[in-house]
């Protein structure tokens, strides 16, 4: 995994990371660089500090500390020596580089009328290595099918950060687009037109408008576009069967999803939430689920043996909520409808 991003790193940092054990290099998920503080490595959901000779430490003492010069070089390389061309990215706090890797930034913000206009004096970087895991959605696909319409059902994927949401929906996009429905009577169904709104350039990792990940032959991508607007644009212009969006949560996203679901388009979206119960606390997600804009919820959970998923119907979930409201009259429906953990996705680590 390391080899995918070495061209972005200053020589000194590259040398240290290349001294890491091969297995660690392969599992690398995050590289966290903070000026004057220990170099941190994230892999397999764990965090370690890296020393100058490439050994991994659990304690910060003795770890390599990046210098100001190194951070400056790193920033230059991440921004292609052109911070001025990245104003929108700085406002959002991260840069997506070729290959779909996301570099989060932290520093001192510049305010303009009370809202963040950018970041200057950037002192911390979090490089998240993107990876595609073709086939990671395969165990899940049969559970998402809408047999009457020969397509997928509207699905909301829920998980905390770093559990593999983006990787999963990317593979769902690929599967739907190729028509890989997961066998059975669905094997003969044709692929469907997929429209992807890729606000963070993570799903398709477009470089100059061309996706670098395999997202299927029938997929169109609106790159770096605000989700709500992008969904409406694609809905009107590309006649999609399925719309895919990452990390929804704002009221305008909800509006666009409602629009799409009433237009007969399946929507597959991800959101940050620990589980369905957690999503209830987020007004936009809650109202979308209550209105039936999504028919399925998928929860992802990373375990040492791989990534687990759990599929539940939105209807059952909403009924479960209602059951626990003080005025509810159906007390035990929640248990009846709750499916079990099923399917073990062996995609190793995903981001």
């Amino acid at each position: 995994m390391l080899s995918r991003i070495t061209h972005l790193l200053p020589l000194e940092l590259k040398a240290i990371l290349e001294r890491l054990p091969a297995q660690v290099q392969e599992q690398l998920e995050e590289i966290r660089i903070r000026e004057g503080r220990p170099l941190e490595i994230g892999m397999g959901g764990q965090s370690r500090f890296a020393a100058n000779d490439g050994t991994l430490l659990t304690q910060a003492g003795g770890a390599y500390k990046p210098t100001a010069d190194l951070c400056r070089k790193l920033l230059e390389r991440m921004t292609n020596y052109s911070l001025y061309a990245m104003e929108e990215e700085l406002r959002r706090g991260f840069i997506t580089v070729a290959g779909g890797h996301r570099v989060g930034l932290a520093g001192r913000t510049i305010l303009d009328n009370g809202s963040v206009r950018g970041i200057r004096e950037i002192g911390a970087f979090n490089i998240r290595i993107a990876r595609e895991v073709p086939g990671s959605a395969a165990p899940l696909m049969p559970k998402l099918l809408d047999r009457s319409r020969k397509t997928v059902r509207s699905t909301l994927v829920l998980a905390p950060p770093q559990q593999g949401k983006t990787t999963l929906v990317r593979d769902i996009a690929r599967s739907v687009s190729y028509g890989l429905w997961g066998g059975g009577d669905a094997a003969s169904w044709p692929g469907r037109k997929v429209a992807i709104v890729d606000e963070r350039s993570e799903l398709a990792a477009c470089v100059r408008g061309i996706p670098t990940f395999d997202i299927g032959p029938r997929s169109d991508v609106m790159d770096a576009c605000p989700k709500a607007e992008g969904m409406m644009m694609l809905l009107r212009s590309m006649s999609p069967d399925v719309i895919i969006a990452d990390e929804i949560g704002r009221p305008e996203d909800g509006e666009a999803i409602r629009e799409a679901s009433h237009a007969g388009v399946s929507v597959i979206a991800t959101a940050h939430a620990y589980d369905a119960e957690d999503a209830r606390g987020r007004p936009v997600l809650r109202s979308l689920l209550e209105e039936g804009a999504f028919s399925l919820i998928v929860e992802l959970r990373r375990t040492p043996s791989g990534i687990m998923h759990r599929v539940l119907t939105a209807e059952a979930c909403v009924r479960g909520w209602a059951a626990r409201e003080p005025t509810a009259v159906v007390p035990r429906l929640a248990e009846d409808a709750a499916p079990l953990f099923s399917g073990l996705m062996r995609g190793d680590a995903m981001c």
Partner: protein, 172 residues
């Protein structure tokens, strides 16, 4: 006969020397102006085009005459190489490498090198300010270079001949 030949040789050499010096005085304001044009173009690329710096340098280098085009191209190539240079290092190396081929002096070299330490690492507004500042400084140098040109260009032209004549007279 031989004496006459030698005297002619000295006269020729002196004249050439004078003309060469004069040419340097004429070239300096011209090159300063060209540098300013290059920076103005860079300003447009950064300010309106949002062009990434390596590409902006390459594009600009196509529009400026030698030897400045080489400076911009070298700076851009340094970034693409795998030596791990920062922009400041690559830029400074390019400036120093072509400096001998220009008629410009250390003042304007300092202006360019200072500019190199700010390019690419701040927001658009800040970049434009730094470029403006460099342009103003170059303009001031250009003005003084023009004064020098008016003062010394013709002087050196005749001085070369006159020194040669003096040498010939002393030797004869």
């Amino acid at each position: 006969m031989l004496k006459l030949f030698g005297a002619l040789l000295i006269l020729f050499a002196g004249t050439m020397l004078g003309f060469q010096q004069a040419a340097r005085f004429a070239a300096r304001p011209r090159q300063l102006r060209q540098t300013a044009h290059a920076l103005q173009r860079l300003e447009t690329e950064i300010g309106y085009g949002h062009t990434p710096l390596p590409e902006a340098l390459t594009r600009t280098s196509a529009f400026v005459p030698a030897p400045l085009n080489r400076m911009l191209a070298l700076a851009s190539e340094g970034l693409a190489s795998d030596e791990g240079l920062s922009f400041r290092e690559s830029w400074e190396r390019a400036v120093r490498e072509i400096w001998g081929a220009t008629a410009m002096r250390s003042n304007e070299q300092a202006v360019l090198i200072r500019l190199g330490s700010t390019l690419g690492i701040s927001d658009r507004e800040d970049q434009l300010k730094h470029l403006k500042l460099a342009l103003i400084q170059l303009k001031a140098e250009e003005d003084s270079a023009r004064e020098d040109q008016a003062r010394y260009e013709t002087m050196w032209k005749s001085l070369g001949v006159l020194i040669a004549v003096l040498l010939v007279i002393l030797m004869v």
